[in-house]
């Protein structure tokens, strides 16, 4: 049995919308198949039973009635005088009908049509006898071994107000024709009862099969559902998800396979993350170790620089080199440590509400970039940001634009909805398309030949990480004249570091 609803909508709709998908679920399909099997079996069994029964019941009732009619007629006709009068014929009809089987009798004399005798004229008249039956009865047959008389007892079932059996025969050697008229109402009632019982049995079989299908699908679907949920949890990263293995069927095998897969997956992930943590720790430890000598070296670079002018011209460049490279190394180590902090997730936001324009001006002032940068920043755009981190972002973006793009560098600040948008555009050649996706990668240098650039190769990746810790992002693109870096920051970071303690 298929649900008529499931066939109506278009194919696409059936896959897309929820209810249709639910109709196609395993449970529904199982129930449908069970119900169809039950229905076909029950209907064919009941149908066969009904028809066999109907035949048997009707045949028995007919045979009894017709036999009785024949016997009663034969007996009574033999007692009838030749050329019997009309009242005698009426008597004959009544006598034949009175055999106790509750049928009516009509006697017709062909030679005297007016002399029509009925056992109960109100119920049985000649009009009720179908003309086909009348002609068949009236037509003589060749005398055979079965009916030596040449005439035969014919019968027909008719539906008037109720089903009736009408039988008729020529009474030889007279001119009489006798008809019998029996109601089959009781048989019909019996058959109706049987029909109803069979229909109810079919219905019960249907319900039973649906319940059975439901139970069967539950035993199959419960483990399938658990498997599905476990797979989902595994996908969400809960690698310790395991299934309880019950029994030894195919589903238990599947659960075992799932457990083995999850086991090996979690082992591999654990190994990978251990290895990654190890290498991160190595970088973090290394940069920490590097910092101690660097701090000592940085402490004395100022002294060296101050004294450089007074030194021997041969030594002075050497001293300046040491000073500048110490600073470079110091920046590199600082950046490395910053990266390891982001990797380890220990980088924290120290947010404060600041005016973005002020921050940009102080960033540019502090680095003496004022002549090379055009700033278009309306005052009054205030955001909750970590000023130190945002300064790092801005310094990296502007510094990068100055270094690779060339002045003038344009910095525009706009508030767009709940976001601050800072665009840094330069006047350079732009970024080659194949480099564009990698500009935020660590140690990625657009120009491979320029291995020794001033940057550490970490600047933009640190800028990106700093933007992300604010809940923002940086995108790189090529504008009309040069590269455009767009920084988007929410006015308030996702989890504001609210240190206020009262009010």
């Amino acid at each position: 049995m298929t649900d008529p609803q499931s066939q109506r909508p278009g194919r696409g709709a059936r896959f897309r919308s929820g209810p249709w998908r639910r109709l196609r679920s395993l449970r529904v399909r199982l129930i449908a198949v069970f119900a169809a099997v039950a229905l076909i079996t029950a209907v064919s069994a009941s149908g066969i039973a009904y028809w066999l029964n109907r035949d048997a019941v009707l045949k028995r009732a007919q045979d009894t009635a017709l036999n009785d009619f024949r016997v009663s007629l034969t007996r009574n006709v033999s007692a009838l005088p030749q050329n019997a009068s009309c009242p005698e014929l009426a008597d004959l009809a009544t006598q034949v009908a009175g055999s106790g089987l509750n049928y009516d009798v009509l006697v017709v004399d062909e030679t005297r049509p007016e002399c029509l005798a009925s056992s109960d004229p109100s119920r049985f008249t000649l009009a009720k006898v179908p003309t086909t039956l009348q002609t068949t009865v009236g037509r003589p047959r060749e005398a055979g071994p079965g009916s030596p008389s040449g005439y035969h007892l014919y019968w027909q079932r008719v539906n008037l107000d109720a089903p009736y059996l009408i039988g008729g025969s020529r009474v030889v050697p007279t001119n009489l024709t006798a008809y019998m008229f029996k109601s089959l109402d009781t048989e019909r009632a019996d058959l109706n009862t049987l029909g109803w019982s069979l229909a109810i049995a079919t219905l019960l079989a249907l319900i039973g099969s649906a319940l059975l299908a439901q139970a069967a699908s539950a035993t199959v679907l419960r483990p399938v559902k658990r498997l599905g949920e476990a797979a989902r949890r595994l996908g969400e990263g809960k690698l310790d998800t395991r299934l309880e293995v019950e029994g030894g069927d195919e589903l238990a095998d599947l659960a075992r396979t799932f457990n083995r897969t999850a086991e090996s997956l979690s082992d591999q992930v654990a190994e990978l993350s251990a290895r990654e943590a190890q290498s991160r720790r190595f970088v973090a430890d290394m940069s920490h170790e590097l910092r101690t000598p660097l701090t000592a070296m940085t402490a004395v670079t100022d002294i060296l620089e101050d004294e450089a002018d007074a030194l021997d011209p041969m030594i002075e460049p050497a001293v300046r080199l040491v000073v500048s490279e110490t600073r470079r190394l110091s920046d590199l180590v600082e950046n490395l440590m910053e990266v390891t902090r982001f990797d380890a997730g220990t980088a924290k936001l120290v947010a404060d509400e600041v005016d973005i324009a002020d921050l940009i001006m102080s960033c540019i002032d502090g680095r003496a970039w004022y002549d090379a940068v055009v700033v278009d920043a309306p005052r009054g755009i205030r955001a909750m940001v970590d000023p130190r981190r945002l300064d790092v972002v801005l310094a990296n973006l502007i510094g990068n634009a100055l270094k690779h793009g060339g002045s003038p560098v344009r910095v525009t600040v706009r508030q767009e909805g709940e976001e601050v948008v800072v665009r840094v555009s330069d006047s350079g050649p732009g970024i080659p398309e194949d480099v564009l996706p990698h500009v935020f990668d660590r140690f990625y240098k657009a120009d491979k030949g320029r291995a020794r650039s001033e940057g550490s190769g970490l600047g933009l990746s640190i800028a990106m990480a700093n933007a992300q810790i604010h809940g923002g992002t940086i995108t790189a693109a090529n504008g009309e004249r040069g590269a455009v870096f767009t920084l988007r920051l929410p006015l308030t970071p996702p989890s504001p570091d609210d240190q206020e303690d009262e009010l």
């Binding site: 910092r291 101690t292 701090t295 402490a299 980088a347 120290v350 404060d352 960033c363 502090g366 240190q499």
Partner: protein, 238 residues
């Protein structure tokens, strides 16, 4: 404030610093650099030595490494704060981890991150020392709290309060504009002389310490109020 060519310490013309740093190279380097910047420097290699030297020589300011063998920088800071209110600048390894917060809570006035440029450290030292300078103005009183700007003393209900120069300067800046909210960044510029890159945790930590000293109930401050989204405000008692 920054006009005077020779910075003036509490007692002497040349600021006398105590540097507590365990790494020999960093200690030597910073000692060299700071001496060259015009400071008198005494150096100690451990917290214990540093505390001993501090008691013997009474420096104007302490530059203190956080990671020390034995008693660490935070503990040194706490022990000094029990008796003295001299400025303490922390030398910390990282700018954004727990070091800074713990350090500021234990009473440090400012911090610098290694590897530090001697120029930056010198600027911070001079800024901290300037906070103790006397001013030529009168006194003001807020309830039981009396701030004597010329004597640079604060009394509460007639009792002298022991404030560090930073705490005192913060109170002075707030009391100069009673009823007006000052943002953390403004306070960083006024008190710490930091530019826009200042760490607002410095302000928060100092406000907490100041409240502990001047408020009747530090957890329910009535004098130094937090203005949500802005900063802090000194409310004259009505």
């Amino acid at each position: 404030m920054g006009e005077s060519p020779a910075p003036v310490g509490q007692n002497e013309a040349v600021p006398f610093l105590l540097l507590i740093e365990d790494d020999d190279a960093i200690r030597t380097g910073l000692e060299l650099a700071l001496t060259r910047q015009g400071h008198r420097v005494a150096a100690a290699a451990s917290g214990e030595d540093g505390l001993k030297l501090f008691k013997e020589q009474r420096p104007d300011l302490i530059v203190l490494d956080v990671m020390l063998p034995g008693i660490d920088g935070f503990e040194v800071c706490r022990r000094i704060r029990r008796t003295d209110q001299l400025p303490i600048i922390l030398l910390t390894a990282r700018s954004d981890d727990i070091d800074v917060v713990v350090g500021l809570e234990s009473g440090a006035d400012d911090y610098v991150v290694k590897p530090v440029q001697p120029r930056v450290l010198d600027a911070r030292i001079r800024a901290v020392l300037r906070r103790g300078e006397r001013e030529n103005s009168d006194s003001a009183s807020y309830g039981g709290l009396v701030i004597d700007r010329s004597a640079m003393t604060v009394t509460k209900d007639g009792e002298d309060l022991q404030l560090t120069p930073t705490e005192l300067r913060l109170l002075l800046e707030l009391s100069r504009r009673p009823g007006q909210a000052l943002s953390r960044q403004q306070l960083l510029r006024l008190v710490w002389e930091h530019d826009y890159l200042g760490d607002s945790r410095l302000v928060d930590a100092c406000v907490q310490r100041l409240r502990a000293k001047v408020e009747d109930v530090p957890s329910a401050p009535t004098l130094i109020r937090t203005v949500r989204g802005v900063g802090y405000r000194l409310d004259p008692p009505s």
